[in-house]
Symmetry: C2
Subunit: 398 residues, 2 copies
């Protein structure tokens, strides 16, 4: 894996369509300094795959770090080739002239430590054995993810972080940034997130993990690349996907509409074998979910799913810093905005508001915005002029 | 299977503890008249396992039919032996002096057609082959369940039904009773139900079915009794169980409390093999869910789970009767009460209220009650003096 240096051959927005980041390519950063995780295990070296958009200012003070959620990755804007059907996952927010304006900002996004999109994780070879870590990989935490990102930013020449920005697990990372590196971090923007999950969110993650762990293909985490518990991972994803939407948005999108074409043609399922005709797809929502499960297993690793959901479940700022959120936020210096979405029932508005209330009680500069939407948890990813305006003005203000 | 006759050796509440139904035993009713299901397939005969409490009046007009939900059965009150740890599933509602007062009412509850607790279903031998029906069993509907119950009531000598009463899928059956047998049915009491599910509820059922269908143990529905897709069924149950509770009730019951004892001792899982220590139970809610999954697979059949969830998903009174609920309810003569629970997010209050509004628009005698609770969908099964008072007064009024 090659160390990408920050130099002039990075993609420049000048080559892009107006308003678009355009063609980008991912880079690898390898830290050869040992990295000790929160669980005490030390990685002799690790790699983060990342992308950047825009240019770092000579003072190194215009960087925005985008933190991705459970199933996200480093590719948050632009396209990798002209034939790409879809741009990066937050392309609507990031680009020249957009809310995260790459005409002025240097945007960095890395696949998290423990991930499966090019960063070091359970799929990576353990240098001690030459075989994939599997479940011998350290039990990475949100804090581990953030500390590894710091090494990347140092490597890129970032002197101060203008903003750490993310939704869901990305929001957890943003909060952790403010606590871990108070003198490095000017602003934090966290959305659809929580300072700790409740029992229901843990429960959904647990069912997903069980679907994977109990799949014979999991084999204690030891499986060939591209193999493994594909059915279990698909089940986990199908279920989780429901929690990212809302009752109202699913009703609007699918209602009780029935499928017309034969299910096999729609699902194209190699892993989710076509079931007996008696239990074939009847409703569009079934077909949609099967497609979600199928496409996920073609791009995601089951062990990473286990590791990241555990990191999310264990994330508990109050418990980690002396018992209260105020204590956790004591070191924070960043200006913080937290955004909740009214229809988010995975990390509901109250959990987002709670973060801001605790920051305010701790004497910090924090404000809460609640956006009315019926699109559920995934609202933070979807088109929203209100969100764009909020992000833009927060990033621009002095 | 023996035909139980309605005679003096039925258990009488006189033998019970004060206020309790006491010792009861299940009976089998076999209808030897062919039964044609909604899908056109004909069962040459079928059996319903049922229980009764209280005594039928000489006029045969004091019967209350209890309709059970997805995972319920015929054993809704009393105990089967003095060593039983738990009474029937609605024992808090049914008994001498209770809301459904067996001093005055004759209570009947049967395992549904397609069930796995003694009634004819996919586990039963197909008379044509001698082997279990499996997925050659007819695609039973809520209406099939109701029509088979009618044969049981006729057999028992019931001339008029005082009330059909049920929650969730039991409420669907109650509504279907009012439509199918308007001249037989005096009252309907449906709780935590819907005249048709939305996309989210279908989606959750679909994920559960996929967990079963994709389990290699399912084998196109052909598996030995007690075998089959036990892991898939456990996953389906764990997930569904979350939808029966609420965020608030799970937080109150479990919060983020961690388990202290070794997980293996708590789970006692023969099917859900203890996973690698790295992904062992950490939170009490995980342990609870694994227990729910484990206990379910010891009492439930996976094919029945497929059949019944499909019947629930397909239930759509408007679509089945000319396109509107008013048309569906046109024949109804029964007085109807529908009860919604504020925290039920599976079949939310609005879906319950919608039923009553349609009945009223159709000129029927119907009223809606909404009970404030934070216990979720399962509220209808839980202790509630308000619910008891409501049921009692509805059953007693003229």
């Amino acid at each position: 894996m090659n160390d990408a240096s920050f130099d002039d051959d990075l993609p420049a927005h000048a080559t892009a369509e107006p308003g678009e980041v355009g063609l980008v390519e991912p880079h690898n950063f390898t830290s050869n300094e040992p990295f000790t995780c929160d669980d005490g295990h030390t990685l002799p070296h690790f790699t983060l795959r990342y992308e950047t958009y825009g240019r770092l200012s000579p003072a190194g003070d215009n960087a925005v770090l985008i933190c991705h959620a459970l199933s996200g990755d480093h590719h948050c804007a632009g396209i990798h080739s002209l034939s790409d059907r879809k741009p990066g996952w937050w392309n609507n927010l990031i680009g020249p002239g957009k809310a995260v304006d790459t005409n002025h900002l240097f945007v960095v996004c890395a696949n998290v430590l423990g991930g499966c999109q090019g960063s070091t994780g359970p799929l990576s070879p353990d240098p001690a054995t030459g075989r994939p870590y599997g479940i011998t990989f350290p039990a990475v935490t949100i804090r581990d993810m953030v500390r590894s990102q710091k090494r990347l930013l140092d490597h890129l020449g970032v002197r101060r972080l203008r903003c750490a920005l993310g939704g869901s697990m990305g929001g957890m990372q943003a909060l952790q940034w403010a606590i871990e590196y108070p003198d490095f971090c000017d602003k934090i923007l966290a959305m659809a997130t929580t300072a700790r999950e409740g029992a229901q969110a843990i429960a959904f993650n647990e069912v997903g993990r069980q679907a994977i762990l109990q799949d014979p293909g999991w084999n204690q985490g030891d499986y060939p690349p591209g193999g493994g518990p594909r059915v279990g991972l698909a089940i986990a994803r199908m279920m989780a996907h429901i929690t990212y939407l809302s009752d109202a948005s699913m009703d609007r999108k699918f209602g009780r509409r029935e499928v017309r074409a034969p299910a096999a043609a729609r699902v194209g399922a190699d892993t989710l074998a076509a079931p007996a005709a008696a239990f074939d797809v009847e409703f569009e929502v079934q077909s949609y979910l099967r497609y979600q499960g199928q496409s996920f297993i073609n791009r995601f690793d089951a062990n990473t799913y286990l590791y990241i959901t555990r990191a999310i479940d264990r994330f508990d700022l109050a418990a980690a810093y002396g018992g209260t959120l105020e204590k956790a936020f004591a070191p924070v210096k960043a200006d913080t905005v937290v955004v909740g979405f009214t229809s988010d029932w995975l990390f509901p508005p109250e959990q987002n508001r709670e973060i801001v209330l605790a920051l305010q009680r701790a004497g910090k500069n924090a404000s809460y915005a609640e956006l009315a939407t019926d699109l559920g948890h995934d609202s933070f990813l979807l088109e929203s002029p209100e969100l764009y305006a909020l992000v833009r003005s927060f990033l621009e203000r002095g």
